[in-house]
Amino acid sequence: MEAKQYIGEGWKHAILIIGAIVVLLPFYMMVSMSLKSQQEIQSISGGLIGAQETQTFPVCVKTGYSEEECTMKPYKYNYWFAFEKAPIPRYLMNGVIVTLSIFIIQVLVALPCAYALAKLRFYGREFVFSMVLFCLLIPVHGIALPLYVMLAQAGLVDTYSALILPWTISVFGIFLMRQFFMTVPDELIDAARMDGMGEYAIVWKVMLPTAIPALLAFAIFSVVAHWNDYFWPRMVITGNRDLFTPPLGIREFRGGIDSDEFGPMMASIVTVTVPLIVAFIIAQKRFIEGITLTGMK
């Protein structure tokens, strides 16, 4: 009886392990390639970290460094050259500036909106809420061109504003927070009113602290989406490398005169991915709470 049970459990785990491998394999490849030399990558040899033989890298020499400077172990070269070739810290900083600005403004807009939609009685509330739901259905790419034209008319192409402004009103955020606020008891709000709080004070001092789990879930959706977004920055950042976000930065390693060199490219991707993974590990517990709370995505 017990043995049978173990076999049953074993099957489940075997299937899950296969699934996990399929999902993790690309990440394994990414890390592995960021450590190996170009030859090992192209011949698909060397296992996880390759032989790590000290060698001179021709692309590096072509770029203008001395042979001495270009002689080192592959893993060191890949990461060193990634940072030499592209201002990765600058890209990371841009990513932080853009995603944080977007998130903060989204919260500033979404919380009062969600509060009004969930707790205030006003004429046309149902209509406004149905418009919010309607906006959820519009794909971003559908309105990308008009948005671009409007930004261009305003002279904002190639600025931080172009990266941030179109995303400041998140209907998803409004919807998510509204659903959460519906569960907050009315009496709490009445109590705050009796204590002398105005409506804005209620939003920031009562609703915001009670909504932290939902807000964290939204933070992760928002930050991940905009940190990884390639489409929009590619459209509105046309020339100025100082404004590149991490995904645009990775593109620097593709093609060009020195052909594709995968080692440094993968090293830069690892660098770009790590902050998100670290953030996820830190917020993991809250994140799962938030997702089960909203039951979405």
Partner: protein, 379 residues
């Protein structure tokens, strides 16, 4: 001062009329209970006093000042809610401080960090601390000040909610069923505590409850509301002894008053079951409801023309009293009779009993439920 006057208050939600032209004068220092079955509009009335809800028509006067256009926060009233509604993310101390901070600090002083540079903030903070400490000592919650509401029991939360209302020393306290989330024993205990608190604060209390026992025990006057109408506003004893209508008589008192169908003849003599009342009704030749409370009925061994008989269907033992639910012939409803345990311990379910009534205790109501008085006080 803390007088509250409600003048011709009506409220409707869409086409549903919730409150029907109510007039109530609440005196300074009074403990007024709004009592009625759920859905009778008593909470709505309280919220209108508080300013959380706007009346459809009529005026609210606090200390003879019309407050129709004044926001809830500026009416200087404090409210205690059924669910306590404490701020879950703040400690008990901060919960108590919140109304004071909002009242005493100006907008600049409320700012984090830079607010501390205001020259007056320090003295204000000290007076706030003093008030919080004083209140928490009165309510015996001093040792809870650093906990969060989630770590408190129901009774403790109740005290904190009271404290948050008290610190501000408001004109009046509004309480919306504050005891109904507590267990039975604690509820009875908190009743006496609330009464004591009212005696020591001498502030106006407006208290909403559906529990007529709370209304009877605590209030100086009680207002009985049913279906958005104010049916009677009087002292608890008067409401109990002299209900103005059948609905009030049925709502107040536990167990419920017994209602018999009867009639009066041309001379005004009231007859029900096989019994004639000695007192004459002021309304002759009409069908009547006769109400007699369970404690005015008694189980007796003697059978005569003033008693009626029936069989015990259910014996409800409360320790100090035993209530007998008795089936009577010719009366569709069971009637309830109180008996003292020492005299009635041998009576069990199914026993046949004779029931005697105390004289001068019957209440008369006409077919529309209005109270009818007797012509004279005799018999």
């Amino acid at each position: 001062m803390g007088t509250i006057s409600l003048k011709n208050i009506s409220k409707s939600f869409g086409s549903t009329q919730v409150l029907n032209n109510l007039n109530v004068d609440i005196q300074d220092g009074e403990f007024l209970t709004l009592v009625g079955p759920s859905g009778c509009g008593k909470s709505t009335l309280l919220r209108i006093i508080a300013g959380l809800e706007q009346q459809t028509s009529g005026d609210v006067l606090i200390d003879n000042k019309n407050v129709n256009k004044i926001r809830a926060s500026e009416r200087d009233l404090a409210m205690v809610f059924q669910s306590y509604a404490l701020y879950p993310h703040l400690t008990v101390r901060r919960n108590l401080e919140t109304p004071l901070r909002l009242r005493d600090y100006n907008a600049f002083e409320r700012l984090p960090l830079i607010g501390n540079f205001s020259p007056n903030k320090k003295s204000k903070t000290e007076s706030i601390n003093q008030l919080v400490n004083k209140t928490s000592e009165t309510l015996q919650i001093s040792e809870l000040l650093d906990r969060k509401p989630g770590q408190l029991s129901g009774g403790q939360r109740q005290r904190v909610a009271l404290g948050r209302a008290m610190v501000r020393e408001p004109v009046a306290f509004l309480m919306d069923e504050p005891l109904s989330n507590l267990d039975a024993a604690l509820r009875v205990h908190m009743r006496s505590e609330l009464s004591e608190l009212h005696n020591s604060l001498k502030t106006t209390f407006v208290y909403v409850t559906h529990d007529q026992a709370e209304a009877l025990t605590m209030s100086s006057r009680m207002a009985v509301m049913i279906d958005g109408n104010l049916l009677q506003l009087d002292t608890p004893q008067e409401v109990y002894d002299n209900p103005s209508s059948l609905s009030v008589a049925q709502f107040v008192g536990s167990p419920k008053i017994n209602i018999f169908n009867g009639s009066s003849d041309s001379s005004g003599t009231v007859n029900f079951l096989n019994v004639n009342l000695k007192r004459k009704s002021s309304e002759s030749n009409s069908d009547l409801h006769i109400g007699i409370r369970p404690e005015h009925l008694e189980i007796t061994n003697n059978k005569d023309e003033n008693t009626f008989s029936g069989t015990v269907a259910y014996r409800e033992n409360l320790g100090s009293d035993i209530y007998f639910h008795v089936n009577i012939e010719d009366n569709s409803k069971k009637i309830i009779v109180r008996g003292l345990p020492q005299f009635t311990h041998q009576i069990t379910n199914g026993s046949s009993v004779n029931i005697k009534r105390d004289s001068n205790k019957a209440l008369l109501f006409n077919q529309t439920g209005m109270r009818i008085h007797f012509n004279n006080a005799m018999g």
